[in-house]
Amino acid sequence: MYQKSKFPEPPTDDKRWHSVQVVMRKHGRSPHALIESLHAVQDAFGYLDRDALTYVARSLDVPLSKAYGVATFYQYFTLKPPGQHKCVVCTGTACYIKGMTELLDALKEKYGVNVEQTTEDGTLTLQSACCIGTCGLAPIATVDGEDLGKVSKEELLAKLEEVLHGHS
């Protein structure tokens, strides 16, 4: 007979699930903690796969369809594993005027990626953000969390080369 387990086990014994469990417990496993819990999974693993969604949905007692719906609604969540390095280009109004399209074109030409894509070799993911609140520095991009303000395409490409080759 099907028995609803109150606290499902994490899909794997990876230690990173611990931080997810902490967040869910903090919110009393309330269905309202769905977004917080998905944030915790993505912080720990970098993306949300089906197992993770199923685990979170069952833990919080929400339908998997709802967890999937939330995960796909918000731009911040991603269902695909990200590349080793992350480049975010701000596509907000100020950055648009200051030429962020040139940055995107340059990235596309050099690495063959559009926004929300990862290079074939899995080294670089390109993302966009809608105004990160520092328009005075437009156009702005971040590489692995480091901000590059008033960045030219040459500078951005040089930074990426440094990051990509420094680690390979």
């Binding site: 309202h32 977004i35 918000y74 953000a129 609140g133 901000d147």
Partner: protein, 369 residues
Amino acid sequence: MVTLEDLSDIRDRVQHELASHKHRIHVCVAAGCIASGSKDVLQAFRNEILSRQLTDKCIVKGVGCMGPCAGSPVIAIEPDGVMYCNVTVDDVPEIMNSLGKQPVARLQMNTDQPFFTRQKKIVLENSGKIDPDEIDDYIAAKGYHSLYKVLSSMSPVEVIAEVIKSGLRGRGGGGYPTGLKWTTVAKTGAQEKYIVCNADEGDPGAFMDRSVLESDPHRVLEGMAIAAYAVGADHGYIYIRAEYPLAYERLRKAIQQAEETTFLGRRIMGTTFNFHIELRLGAGAYVCGEETALIASIEGGRGTPQTTSSLPSRTRLVWENQLSLTTSRPLPTFPQFYATAGIGLRLSVPREAKAQRSSHLQATSRTSD
């Protein structure tokens, strides 16, 4: 029990410490300046002061946004009032040499321009002056004095009357009169009421919320606590967008500090008033700045707006509010009133008030008329 003397003691201590240093160097550590390397500049000043053995004469402080973010990193030398922009680590020795002498002309910002001279900061009065990570700095700037005053000498009705008199209006776009909103919320017989602060600043190019959240987070908390007292809420949420990680972090720290000093949490300042604030992180959806979508998101769902009624008799009521002191006649009783960063009010009137908060939120989100 916290007394006015406790607050004054902290104020005197901080002010004495500041006054005992001849030169105070303020380095902006808000998002814009951090992005251009202000943290390195801050560290360079610290090192330089240590190596020159000037610790009793000079003090360096990380402060919030000073305004001219395009010139970041921005620093200010107080009490001289000299501002420098585009400062790099290499400029630090030269600036140190110039202290008490002629300012470094090539880096100096002209403060005699309309941006500075025609601007009167009210909500951002502490921004760029205090260290956002230090609750004592905020108290020294008369922070939490209004909350003390409200809790110790005013009834909720008097607080609301004051807000009505001030003419304060919402800043989220609609300009709804805040006093009216508070009156409606206060009068409703709901068992549980919530204050929701809309800090989901989605519009590109707008960063008034960012500035106050990153530069003066306690101000937002104090404003929410006063609003909660006035309307009878005991729980609040701040919904903040994921693109502002620094603001999130500073608020998190501020809440922790405020709880430790009993300015938030249970039995605030030794009174019977309880008020808890939780943070909620957005996930990159512009529409979640809209009030009904925002609440759906706080409740863990997709941020889809819904049509709601604004009549208190309906089952579900949603009132979102942004507060700021917009009146030209500053509120007489609160010399420095509350914050701007979308402070919202959410009021729910469930058909049967549920005892459990968690199920309550769910219940209100599901029930329709």
